[in-house]
């Protein structure tokens, strides 16, 4: 039986990718953010997960407005990051796990979700930056990827409850997979930020702290706001917290926070990194 060992939640700002490309991890501006990954590296070195199931949003690399899926699940043997318009393309490819992808697809459709399925898919900075942060260097990634894209670009977006329920369905699907794989769940993006309009630069420390406080013990607290409430509170791109809400749904065991790092600002963003452990519930 496969197990879900935990969750990694992190911002995915493109500037982080640029900082990695320029080796700025120790630069005073970047160091407080990159230092948040030390516990994550230690944990990953011990857990050695076989597969990462990543909830993220595409920003216009794989999907355009001609066909915009609310939920899309990758089922490719390999994924690549490509130039998104500013010339940075990370070279290390991501190995897929098509059999697990199709199992998840079968199970979530049985749970009455209707995702788009992608046998060919590019992944953008929202997958590539978290992988580069978690497994720095040049060695090939040994953790395989199952990407799950959530539309946070074109409204109407799925509701926070729907995203959370999708995460739960994905969690059940992984638990029912017969293989021996150890799985880590990722939720990427956020926290509060807004790139456009007269309110560009919007940051909401109170809302971010509310999310960070409740993510492990009471994720349903995050469902009290609807999608437009979150846009207002966290900013038009802060709505990427939907990816975190979905990822948290997949952690269905006993969940404990191992590490949390909140650092403002990175570029225009209130950045955060959270590591949660997921253990089987003990029936006392």
């Amino acid at each position: 039986m496969s197990t879900i060992c935990g969750g990694i939640f992190t911002s995915h700002v493109p500037g982080i990718g640029k900082a990695i490309a320029q080796n700025l991890q120790q630069d005073p501006y970047w160091k407080p953010f990159f230092d948040g990954f030390k516990p994550v590296h230690q944990w990953l070195a011990q857990e050695k997960p076989d597969v990462a199931v990543v909830f993220y949003n595409d920003h216009g690399l794989n999907f355009f407005l001609d066909k915009m899926p609310t939920f899309a699940i990758g089922a490719a043997a390999q994924y690549t990051h490509e130039d998104e318009g500013w010339g940075i393309a990370f070279e290390r490819p991501f190995q897929g796990h098509p059999d697990l992808s199709w199992h998840i697809i079968e199970q979530v459709v049985a749970s009455e979700f209707d995702p788009v399925t992608c046998q060919s898919m590019m992944v953008d900075h929202a997958v590539a930056v978290p992988f580069e942060l978690c497994w720095p260097g040049d060695a090939p990634f040994t953790t395989k990827l199952v990407p799950i894209a959530i539309n946070t670009v074109q409204h109407p977006l799925p509701s926070p409850k729907r995203c959370h329920d999708l995460g739960k369905a994905v969690g059940r699907a992984i638990e029912s997979w017969s293989g021996p794989e150890k799985v880590v769940i990722f939720g990427t993006g956020g926290l509060s930020h807004q790139l456009e309009g007269e309110r560009a630069g919007h940051i909401n420390v109170d809302y971010d702290k509310f999310c960070l406080r409740n993510l492990a013990p009471d994720p349903e607290a995050l469902l009290q706001h609807d999608t437009l409430d979150i846009v207002e509170l966290a900013g038009s791109q802060g709505v990427e917290i939907l990816n975190w809400i979905a990822a948290r749904g997949a952690l269905r065991g006993s969940v404990r926070e191992l590490a949390s790092n909140y650092h403002v600002p990175i570029s225009n963003t209130a950045a955060a990194t959270v590591l949660l452990q997921n253990s089987e519930k003990v029936l006392a």
């Binding site: 490509e82 010339g87 560009a200 420390v205 437009l228 403002v264 209130a270």
Partner: protein, 135 residues
């Protein structure tokens, strides 16, 4: 926590300083966003830089969209249906990052925009007492 905005009489939520990129915007902005999406390819970025008018014509931008691009007017691009995720690719051609975009949209200098972000500056770290996370 703050009081949230309500629906307007037109049935849309009016969030201060924020354009919600909905179906109306997606339809109005389609040509502009399609052009920006093409900039994922270096050759297309170069073709635009070499002949902006010709490239905009190829994608059938509306006159308002063309004018907004000519003026480098980000708020006008948004008003014409531009989505910031796609516009960011155009901004890159002009050598503008998201902080430059923020400054242009808020009427601040780039330094003032960065200073406004730094007003929120903070770092808050928690690490559990767990043997696996020993320093």
């Amino acid at each position: 926590m703050q009081t949230l905005s309500r629906q307007t009489t037109e049935g849309k939520r009016a969030i201060p300083g924020t354009l919600v990129f909905d179906g109306d915007a997606a339809q109005a902005g389609y040509a502009l966003n399609a052009m920006c999406y093409s900039f994922n390819t270096l050759a297309n970025r170069q073709a635009f830089a070499a002949d902006e008018e010709g490239y905009m014509a190829r994608f059938s931008l509306t006159e308002a969209q063309r004018d907004a691009v000519r003026q480098r007017d980000v708020l006008a691009m948004l008003a014409a249906g531009g989505n910031v995720y796609y516009l960011a690719k155009l901004a890159g051609i002009f050598g503008l990052n998201v902080q430059d975009l923020g400054a242009l949209q808020t009427g601040m200098s780039v330094d003032a925009f960065k200073a406004a972000l730094l007003e929120h500056a903070m770092t808050e770290t928690r690490v559990a007492n767990d043997g696996r996370l020993a320093a």
